[in-house]
């Protein structure tokens, strides 16, 4: 009754105002791709600094890299982009890239080895948050001139020791590997910032698109680059519009005002079934949902307790209810599709087993607090944990806060339990191995806040050394095997219960072809899209 009243009230109001029908666009123009997405996380579009999802999507379409992923064949791994080919020295430390000839930046300047060297050095010198992706190979502001060298049309980089070549090249496909136009960027330098401020809101790339405008929390507009070496993209304009609400995104998609809706809740995705002209694009992404147990807590540090808690999670129940089609069960730190990823999920909900383990550890009446940020699915997971933990006599209190509040405590090692998500930083297994299972110094003074193992106070029991060995193994097969072993030990002993991997479900007009969201390894690409 209330609903009818309201609808009548609203309708009457509309009529009273004399609302006349105003024709709206029925569909988006044929050469324009319009995407609704939450883009309020973008804080900069400088590739040396950007470290957010929405920003990475934009940068992937603006900038060329030495090596890059082909959106139509992500499984093929990195492919030549601005570097046409490369050779590796005998000691495995130096990779020499030969640049593709005849490629120009959007400014008209040629893309030279000099620009590539400048871009990498710039990332090292600026030392912004994502710089570790490059500097982990031993590049420092002091040695950059000696280790990153230009010789005519070739660029050579020399790492501090031998690493798997695939590791180095995979890292160069990350956002920070974008090659910027040296002349243009340095022409806009202010106070020795190497164009950092200017690049925040401008673009200087050679990719298929250039930045037309970025209005924070409103929209990003890209224009096709007519001189792109791979040919001009079919979509002359790409507009990514910030739309916060899933229901609103769905409505806009159904009305034909947008082509792609990227933040639909599972219920809105279900609602799209049977709507004409709309389909759902599903891609496995790299984001993992996990809970971790602080090893500074006397009870949580007991091996049986860690094990018991892993048996107290209702993996299947969650996956088949509120996480259905949204997250898929996955209990390993390497996301599916990564080198070395495995499918073994040994843990299932088993209260009796958990109780036995707790009894063995001599733990009773345990009361714990889980830190969780206020996002719908995380709260639901936390409530499920609260319920299932209670079945074994464990009281779980929820500490809910904004992402920033909870994260602050997690980094300070102050939480008993953390419920969170982790996305890989670059498409190499070391990205997750290096944070979940690597912790060279577990002391408080080390303050290694970037490492998840450290945040949980976990001395990895030998995994640190194994991770360090895997990352320098040149033989890819052997390297994958090493990650299998590391993950087996990790599942058994780690204070982490990895639970789920994200599936992105985007609603899409059915005339859109060739859109890639980037899978687990990279970001969205628009240049192959046709309508």
């Amino acid at each position: 009754m209330k609903t009818i009243q309201t609808l009548l009230g609203t309708a009457a109001l509309g009529l009273a105002i004399g609302l006349t029908p105003i024709a709206t666009m029925a569909e988006t123009p044929a050469n324009m791709l319009v995407i609704a997405n939450r883009i309020d996380d973008i804080t900069t579009l400088d590739p040396a600094q950007s470290f957010e999802f929405a920003g990475a999507d934009v940068i992937r379409n603006i900038y060329g890299k030495l090596v890059n992923f082909d959106p139509s064949d992500l499984d093929a791994g990195y492919q030549p982009d601005l570097a046409e080919s490369w050779t590796v020295s005998e000691d495995g430390r130096t990779i020499t890239f030969t640049m593709r000839e005849g490629v120009t930046f959007q400014s008209g300047n040629p893309v030279r080895a000099e620009d590539a060297a400048f871009s990498l050095k710039r990332a090292v010198l600026l030392n912004k948050t994502p710089s570790f992706i490059i500097t982990q190979f031993g590049f420092t502001p002091e040695n950059a001139d000696d280790t990153i060298k230009v010789d005519g049309n070739t660029l050579s980089i020399t790492t501090d020791k031998r690493y798997a070549t695939s590791f180095v090249l995979n890292c160069l496909t990350a956002t920070i590997g974008a090659i910027v136009d040296k002349e243009l960027v340095m022409a806009n330098e202010v106070d020795g910032d190497m164009g950092n401020k200017w690049l925040t809101t401008n673009s200087a790339g050679s990719g298929p698109y250039s930045l037309a405008s970025w209005k924070p929390k409103e929209s990003v507009t890209l224009s096709a680059n007519p001189s792109y070496y791979g040919g001009e993209a079919a979509m002359k304009r790409v507009i990514v519009r910030h739309v916060q609400e899933s229901a609103t995104q769905r409505l806009m998609l159904e009305r034909g005002d947008i082509d792609v809706a990227r933040d639909l809740t599972p219920s809105d995705v279900d609602g799209l079934a049977g709507v004409d002209g709309v389909e759902v694009l599903r891609e496995m992404r790299g984001r993992l949902m996990y809970v971790s147990f602080n090893q500074k807590h006397p009870e949580l540090s007991k091996p049986q307790v860690r094990q018991a808690l892993k048996y107290l999670i209702d993996y299947d129940g969650m996956e088949n209810s509120f996480l259905k089609n949204w997250y898929v069960g996955h209990q390993n730190f390497l996301p599916k599709t990564y080198l070395g990823a495995v499918d073994e999920n040994p843990f299932s909900f088993d209260v009796e087993k958990a109780k036995a383990l707790l009894a063995e550890a001599g733990v009773e009446n345990l009361e714990l607090t889980v830190g969780v940020r206020e996002a719908q699915e995380r709260l639901e997971i936390a409530q499920s944990l609260q319920n299932t933990f209670a079945q074994a006599g464990i009281t779980l209190n929820l500490e809910v806060g904004t992402g920033k509040q909870i994260l602050g405590k997690y980094r300070a090692r102050e939480l008993d339990i953390y419920l969170g998500a982790w996305g890989p930083d670059y498409p190499d297994p070391h990205t997750n191995a290096g944070t979940f299972a690597y912790n060279p110094d577990n002391s408080d003074e080390a303050n290694a806040t970037g490492l998840l193992a450290w945040r949980n106070g976990w001395d990895t029991g030998g995994l640190t050394e194994k991770v360090a060995a895997a990352v320098v193994e040149g033989d890819t097969e052997k390297r994958a095997e090493m990650y299998h072993e590391i993950q087996a030990q990790f599942r058994d002993t780690a204070p982490f219960a990895v639970m789920f991997q994200l599936i992105e479900q985007a609603g899409m007009a059915d005339n859109v072809e060739g859109l890639s969201l980037g899978g687990a390894i990279t970001s969205a690409a628009y240049w192959d899209v046709t309508k």
Binding site: T24, T43, S219, L251, M252, K404, N447
Partner: protein
Amino acid sequence: MANFATETERRPWLPLPPWARGTLVTLSSIAVTMLGLLFVTFLIGRVMPIDPVLAIVGERATEEQYNAAYRELGLDRSLAVQFFYYVTDVLRGDFGTSLLTARDVSTDIARVFPATFELATIGIFFGCILGVPLGVIAAVRRGSWIDQIARVIALVGYSMPIFWLGLMGLLLFYGILGWVGGPGRQGIFYEDMIPSVTGMILLDSLIAGDWGAFRDAFSHIVLPAALLGYYSLAYISRMTRSFMLEQLSAEYVTTARVKGMSEWAVVWTHAFRNIRVQLITVIALSYANLLEGSVLTEIIFSWPGIGSYITTALLSADMNAVLGGTVVVGLVFICLNIFSDLLYKVFDPRSK
């Protein structure tokens, strides 16, 4: 609400003519209010359990990167020093840089404020032209069916979550009927097509002489503005009704009726004239509320206004943006206050 233009001093304490003294008092109370506002928001920003440094550098940052950003923000200085620098910057019109948008806060506000201003102005316009007559009629026909309808309309306005009503409105008028444009301030086709002069798209499209863009912008604003208007209508009509009832039961009204004046003249020239002053305050108050409190409407309709700007800034510890936004909202309140005081003087002979 503080009344800045009212003079409380009886004895002249400055050898100035009364109007100059009045202005001086007004200005100094504005200054004190603004300073207090700055101080309180500044303190809240500093004691909030959110780390602004983390907001910039992200969770993967090393200690060294974290410390560099910490120093860059000036957080290593004492609170008093930080506040002093902040106030002196603000006096120069510099609100600092927003962490989230990487632009000057003043630039951001110049972008988001016109959007809210446009929305709230049309909203309050709807609210007034419908709410005032509705309230008057409801009072005149007290207890009749029209009074009942007015009551229901106001009740729904009070009790329905704006969030839900907004989504339902979108579903009906945009989704099903297709009468209005969808979320956002303009259709995607017109994105970046109209040069920004005032920042208000309706005005800008008129200036550009682009009739299509104007229609498009209008089709986008009409629904959120109607929604906001509805909420202020609910308040305005109830207040109008109760003011009118009070007047209609007064003796002078009875006298006028006895004298044989027409009902129309009694209501509109006698009774209504006497509630104008009270109504001004009510309308100014609703308008101020629309200008700062339309966050949910802005979120549902993807309307990039100051309400959602301050809210997201607050949630992300973007303190420069929060402080800048608060100062602007504070100024708006003060301006509206002064404006309604001026109108008081115009309409109420006693205050002369």
